[in-house]
């Protein structure tokens, strides 16, 4: 930046920033330049971005700083298993996202208790940096024969029975380690951290968002999302210009992750049509993790490719034929979502609706929900509107299908000058697709990209890229639908 620019900086204060419009988010709430900021609260208020949990909401639990990730639904009866103990998740209801919980020994049994990490912890590593110049220790004198620790397992159990906290046990282990003082500063920190994780595990309450959901799945079950990494997902949304008030066509074979991310970015405006080949919709269970409110849910609709492409007078017939199939499918979806959410967490959720049902009527996995779930069958008016106007963008995430055969059917459903983005875990199908799009002159501005993401560890005297790295997050073919003489619309 020029020196003159360094002296003055502009603050951009907006409901949605210009920077965001560079990625395709436009304000769906406009406000006058001259109005007083403090009077303008976002219309949707706390329900847009709830920062506190409620009964029935979906959460992501992060145990021991990323060591273990799992999704859960908070209810009076839901539980979590750590090691060989089971804890109730009740204390988590009504807490802000970002809260940290530690295991505390209760009178009857241990429970999860909210706690604030003391700020000294944050500074430990900085102090380590200061002392570094004096560090003269190394590991030459340490013999790794598993005999350094003088406390036995029985000793530790006894401490627990007497009500010692996890932290006290950790301190005791350190005090009884013959080699601890001989370790280097960094080594001591590592040791302490390791013991803390075992004897004083921490649970972080995280809000499910496209980012956290994608990262969790990528870490644990990447095959279910076709190895779609979070940066690749973000590129799909940007390259397809997913923005407020758009009508996005999505072919999602990654469990509903992409559909959910699109719906999240639409923020209760526009529409997303989740389409599928043949008569059976693809599973969309991941979308339930997002905690979408009613407004967002009703804009996530489903419609088969056949129905979207069908000539007008045929539509009503086919719609009624497919209805039965879809009702059956949505019932089996229930089962799928239930099995996904109970997989990791020992959920004994009851469907009892108590006075704690939240005002924003989130649909729960219970049978008592009256509000529309995401993924309802698209009504005729919607299909008609999409046919007349065309979709404003297309995203395909079908990591095991042939890209070209999908694109040639779906691209004509877009308006001209509309962008599209196709994800695949393999390069070849996208290369072939790109070539064909060029041959058929169906698209311009074609680009075949591979995102590369590297994380860094930044600590005093220990700054370097992380030792582990993801080798691939997939590939993306993007472009713009162009008018051509040969295309039929």
């Amino acid at each position: 930046m020029l020196l003159s620019e360094l002296k003055l900086f502009q603050i951009l204060v907006r409901k949605v920033q210009f920077f965001l419009t560079l990625c395709g988010i436009r304000a769906n709430i406009l406000f006058n330049k001259g109005s007083n900021m403090s009077e303008n609260k976002p219309e949707s208020g706390p329900t847009v971005n709830p920062r506190v949990t409620w009964e029935g909401c979906s959460v992501l639990l992060d145990i021991n700083d990323g060591d273990r990730l799992l999704f859960a639904r908070l209810s009076a009866g839901s539980t979590l298993k750590i090691g060989n103990k089971t804890f109730s998740l009740q204390p988590l209801i009504g807490c802000p996202f970002g809260s940290l919980f530690q295991v505390e020994s209760g009178k009857e049994k241990p429970y999860l208790s909210r706690f604030i990490p003391p700020t000294e912890e944050n500074n430990v590593q900085d102090e380590g940096g200061c002392q570094l110049q004096e560090e003269s220790r190394d590991n030459r004198a340490i013999i790794d024969n598993n005999q350094a620790q003088s406390l036995t397992g029985d000793d530790i159990d006894a401490m627990r029975r007497q009500g010692a906290t996890g932290n006290e046990i950790v301190e005791a282990l350190i005090a009884n380690s013959a080699t601890f003082d001989k370790k280097t500063q960094f080594s001591q920190e590592k040791y302490r951290l390791k013991k803390q994780k075992k004897y004083a595990p921490r649970v972080l309450l995280r809000r499910p968002f496209s980012r956290s959901i994608c990262e969790a799945y990528f870490k644990k079950y990447p095959a279910r999302i076709g190895f779609l990494r979070v940066d690749a997902l973000s590129l799909l949304l940007s390259m397809a210009n997913v923005t407020a008030n758009s009508d996005v066509l999505v072919l999602d074979m990654v469990g509903g992750l992409v559909t959910g991310a699109v719906a999240e970015r639409l923020g209760g405006t526009g529409s997303v049509c989740n389409t599928y080949l043949g008569g059976t919709p693809y599973p969309m269970e991941i979308i339930r993790m997002f905690n979408f409110n009613n407004e967002i849910c009703k804009r996530v609709l489903r419609c088969s490719v056949n129905d979207l492409c069908a000539v007008q007078n045929e539509t009503s017939e086919q719609v009624s034929q497919h209805e039965d199939v879809c009702t059956m499918e949505s019932q089996s979806d229930e089962k799928i979502s239930l099995s996904v959410s109970t997989e990791e967490v020992h959920l004994s959720s009851k469907n009892g609706v108590s006075d704690l049902v939240p005002e924003n009527e989130l649909s729960t996995t219970g049978k008592t929900c009256k509000t529309p779930k995401a993924g309802e069958k698209a009504p005729k008016e919607a299909i008609q509107s999409w046919k007349e106007n065309g979709f404003s963008s297309l995203i395909i995430a079908a990591p095991e299908q042939d890209a070209w055969s999908l694109v040639k059917d779906l691209l004509p459903l877009l308006t001209y000058s509309a962008p599209f983005a196709i994800y695949h875990q393999y390069l070849q199908p996208l290369a072939t697709c790109m070539n064909n799009l060029q041959l058929e002159k169906m698209a311009i501005g074609l680009q075949l990209s591979e995102p590369w993401l590297r994380e860094y560890q930044v600590l005093p005297s220990r700054t370097h890229p992380c030792m582990q790295m993801s080798g691939s997050g997939g590939y993306i073919l993007s472009g713009t639908r162009a008018y051509s003489n040969t295309s039929q619309s």
């Binding site: 949707s44 970002g98 065309g390 001209y416 990209s449």
Partner: protein
């Protein structure tokens, strides 16, 4: 039905009008922003184009010059803007931008504070945002936003000076991102972030692009004589008779990474504001 309210639709389905700002697509790496004006012309290597020929045509149309050359007329999207903006001001590219948006967890309705320099008049965004001029490193963000921001984005030479103020502006668990080209800046920022922030992570992201070429079955390249910088499209004419999917003389599609690629833009450091006890 409110869902289909066409007045708010983002639709490129309407036709080009006098006064519209459009993107003229010449080639896959050549695009420019043009304001349509009834009496103007556009002149480039393909010939002379009259703006008046464009008016009334739909977006996405192919239009011809006096010499028979052609260009495409596209509707402006933010993605196309990132390609069209002058490279001097453009430091963040689409890969960085899209990652930041996702990682900051920004959705419509969020309040985002950002520091940076942008030209808003030209792009017409000035009706949607409020711009203030202030020395953030010296004075911090204005008090009126205390505790109201969902996210903060910093693109400053010395972000550690603005981080304490950013912390005050953020809601609990609110997200912050700082973009810095140099690792020393990242180290100092992280040092300051450790007071009051958690979940501190630093990334770099790059986009690697691939070129696609067609090889004939006898394993020699389709005759072109040109450098590989030519878009494959130009070489397609000779082999047009072989239709897509024809197995008899099916060409082999080869992909390889582009020779030129970006090495570095900057480091992206993210953090969340820690919860304190009374909130």
């Amino acid at each position: 039905m409110l869902l289909m309210d066409s007045s708010t639709k983002i639709s490129f389905n309407r036709c080009i009008r006098d006064g519209d700002l459009i993107i003229v697509y010449e080639r896959h790496d050549t695009m420019k922003a043009v304001k349509v004006c009834e009496n103007s012309i556009l002149q480039n290597r393909f010939g002379v184009f009259k703006h008046s020929d464009w008016i009334g045509k739909p977006f996405g149309s192919k239009v011809f010059s006096n010499k028979g050359g052609f260009v495409y007329l596209l509707a402006p999207t933010p993605e196309l803007w990132t390609l069209v903006l002058s490279h001097r001001t453009q430091i963040l590219y689409i890969a960085d931008i899209s990652f930041v948006i996702m990682y900051l967890e920004v959705v419509p309705g969020c309040l985002v504070l950002e520091s940076g320099t942008e030209d808003f008049e030209r792009t017409g965004i000035n009706t949607l945002i409020t711009v203030g001029v202030r020395d953030i490193q010296g004075e911090g963000f204005p008090d009126q936003f205390f505790g109201l921001a969902d996210s903060v984005f910093l693109d400053l030479p010395q972000p550690w000076l603005a981080i304490p103020s950013a912390r005050n502006m953020l809601k609990q668990d609110g997200t912050l991102c700082s973009f810095s080209p140099c690792i020393e800046q990242v180290q100092r920022s992280c040092e300051i972030l450790r007071s009051g922030f958690t979940d501190i992570r630093t990334f770099e992201i790059l986009l690697r692009t691939y070129e696609v070429h067609e090889w004939k079955m006898d394993h020699s390249k389709v005759d072109d004589g040109n450098s590989t910088a030519c878009p494959p499209r130009k070489r397609r004419q000779p082999s047009r008779e072989a239709s897509v999917g024809d197995n008899a003389s099916s060409p082999v599609i080869m992909a390889r990474p582009s020779a030129e690629t970006r090495g570095h833009t900057g480091y992206l450091t993210f953090a969340r504001k820690s919860l304190n006890f009374h909130c």
